[in-house]
Symmetry: C2
């Protein structure tokens, strides 16, 4: 009955598009069966006030900001977006299996560097923060090479150290951070990088992560790699120009990309994790029995209002 | 003295290009310092008989085959290459954060499917093999979410289960495998996939891995993603045509890409792993203290004979 699926779910972590099958409970525990049986309350809509649209010539990248983990950086990046600081800047770097970076190509050139109005150029780092009960945490039982505890917090990959009471975001594929120079307080959001390779976990707690790409990461990950050191483009004409970066709340409602992300604090999500530890799809011969934090998929779909609008057409 | 570096080392795992610095022992334990102090015997040249050149319109991808882990598949893929089976086939699939796949777009069309002469279309799976002392294994002390033991074997990421005496290759970035259908014995090398995303470890022991890309992975990872299910291209004109696949030994010597890979069974490599567990470069504020198997870089450089030839010019 796959052809009768009534909506598509984009699973960004694995980049897989799966179709929902109906009558899920008669079928094996697979992600597509579980999603087919999901209820509206299993999903959450992105908050337009904490969502960025990075507009590239090839299309829109949707980033959810993470104020619970990097409040000052999130506030500053929104201010920079509202000042139109990013508009006309460039993707200056694409390093294979690592990151794509947005920056001012003239940042080092006196007189040419993009001016800042009310935002801050640099901020103290927000490499980690204090564990608080207000920030949800779905712990993964599978362990981790780098951290004592890992899990998900509203769809974001998080590590925790109960000994020192700290938590921090993890550099999984699609995470967004604030580039910095050698000084830990030299970042602030004027340069943003997006992870496009195997999780560079050595960066955890070394750079401020401030959000996650929920849609459009492939527009960044398929960019030609820069041939200079660290993947910087060697010629200005290789730069991809940023059309704009906008806070979704500032974009007229009809132009918004309405997304819903599967909630990660639900029984359904626990079942989904189990369905990925032990894959029940026919193709799988061997069940891994474990899952690594950056391999946990967090499904995303067009918001129900967007789906209804489409159905009406 | 970075400008006096006389060769560039390509570090494929992290995609970083690092320059060698001289006088390494007076400097902190970093990968570039260690490589600058490396001796010729720390490196090994690729064996032309176990190296494939995948020739794309954008350039050459160099793949080292792994006969110690998948002898039948390696033998069959070489036979297929020598029959020119792959020449004119296509990259039919590019799934973000997952794999790029080479296949015959007409495989399912009677009369149009590429013929096989002496090679096999399918083979029994080589998902794992018996641990033997002849196959070197540098165990990583850091542990792993999926396997009891992980480490490196001649530059390849390997997992082992001492309980059942088996070992197998790991799906890290840049690994190459033989695509298959639902039946475990339906692969054989007529379809090859290359990992271009966060290590999809759920595939370990589910597909036969047979080699690793040492050069040119960025030509694959930067391909536009397919918009069909599983990242398949929806239109034939989106396919990237394979110019040829050749065993390096069959290519005239002057046209070969001479590479040396850092040996992974040496004291130097142990130091390199330590330099990546705890990063001593100025930029790093926090030392991770651990490293995950797919984050271990294995340096590659132009072979010394190629370097000497260039110097003579």
């Amino acid at each position: 009955m796959r052809s009768e699926a009534f909506w598509l779910v984009l699973v960004l972590t694995l980049g897989q598009t799966v179709e929902a099958a109906d009558n899920p409970r008669s079928q094996p525990l697979t992600m597509s069966n579980l999603l087919a049986g999901s209820k509206p309350e299993d999903w959450r809509a992105l908050d337009p006030e904490n969502t960025l649209y990075l507009e590239l010539p090839a299309g829109r990248v949707v980033i959810e900001l993470a104020p619970s983990f990097a409040p000052a950086h999130v506030s500053n990046v929104k201010q920079l977006a509202r000042e139109k600081y990013y508009d006309g800047l460039s993707i200056v770097r694409a390093q294979d299996n690592y990151v794509v970076q947005l920056a001012d190509p003239n940042a080092e050139k006196p007189g040419l560097a993009r001016k800042i109005q009310h935002a801050r150029r640099t901020l103290p780092p927000e490499f980690d923060c204090v564990i608080t009960p207000e920030v949800p945490f779905m712990r993964l039982a599978d362990g981790d090479v780098y951290a004592t505890e890992v899990g998900l917090s509203s769809g974001l990959p998080v590590a925790r150290d109960p000994k020192n009471g700290k938590m921090w975001l993890i550099h999984c594929y699609g995470m967004v951070g604030a580039g910095r120079d050698a000084a830990v307080d030299s970042g602030g959001g004027t340069e943003l990088y997006m992870v496009i390779g195997h999780a560079p976990r050595q960066l955890d707690r070394n750079v401020t992560l401030l959000g996650r790409v929920w849609k459009g990461i492939e527009l960044l990950s398929s960019m030609p790699r820069g041939t200079g050191a660290l993947g910087f483009y060697e010629k200005p004409e290789q730069h991809v120009i940023i059309k704009s970066v906008r806070v979704a709340a500032d974009v007229p409602a009809p132009e918004r990309t309405l997304l819903e992300v599967l909630r990660t604090d639900t029984p359904l999500f626990k079942e989904l994790i189990e369905s990925r530890r032990n894959r029940r799809e026919d193709w799988f011969h061997f069940q891994a029995g474990h899952i690594e934090i950056c391999n946990v998929p967090v499904p995303v779909r067009a918001a129900s209002s967007a789906r209804k609008t489409e159905e009406r057409k």
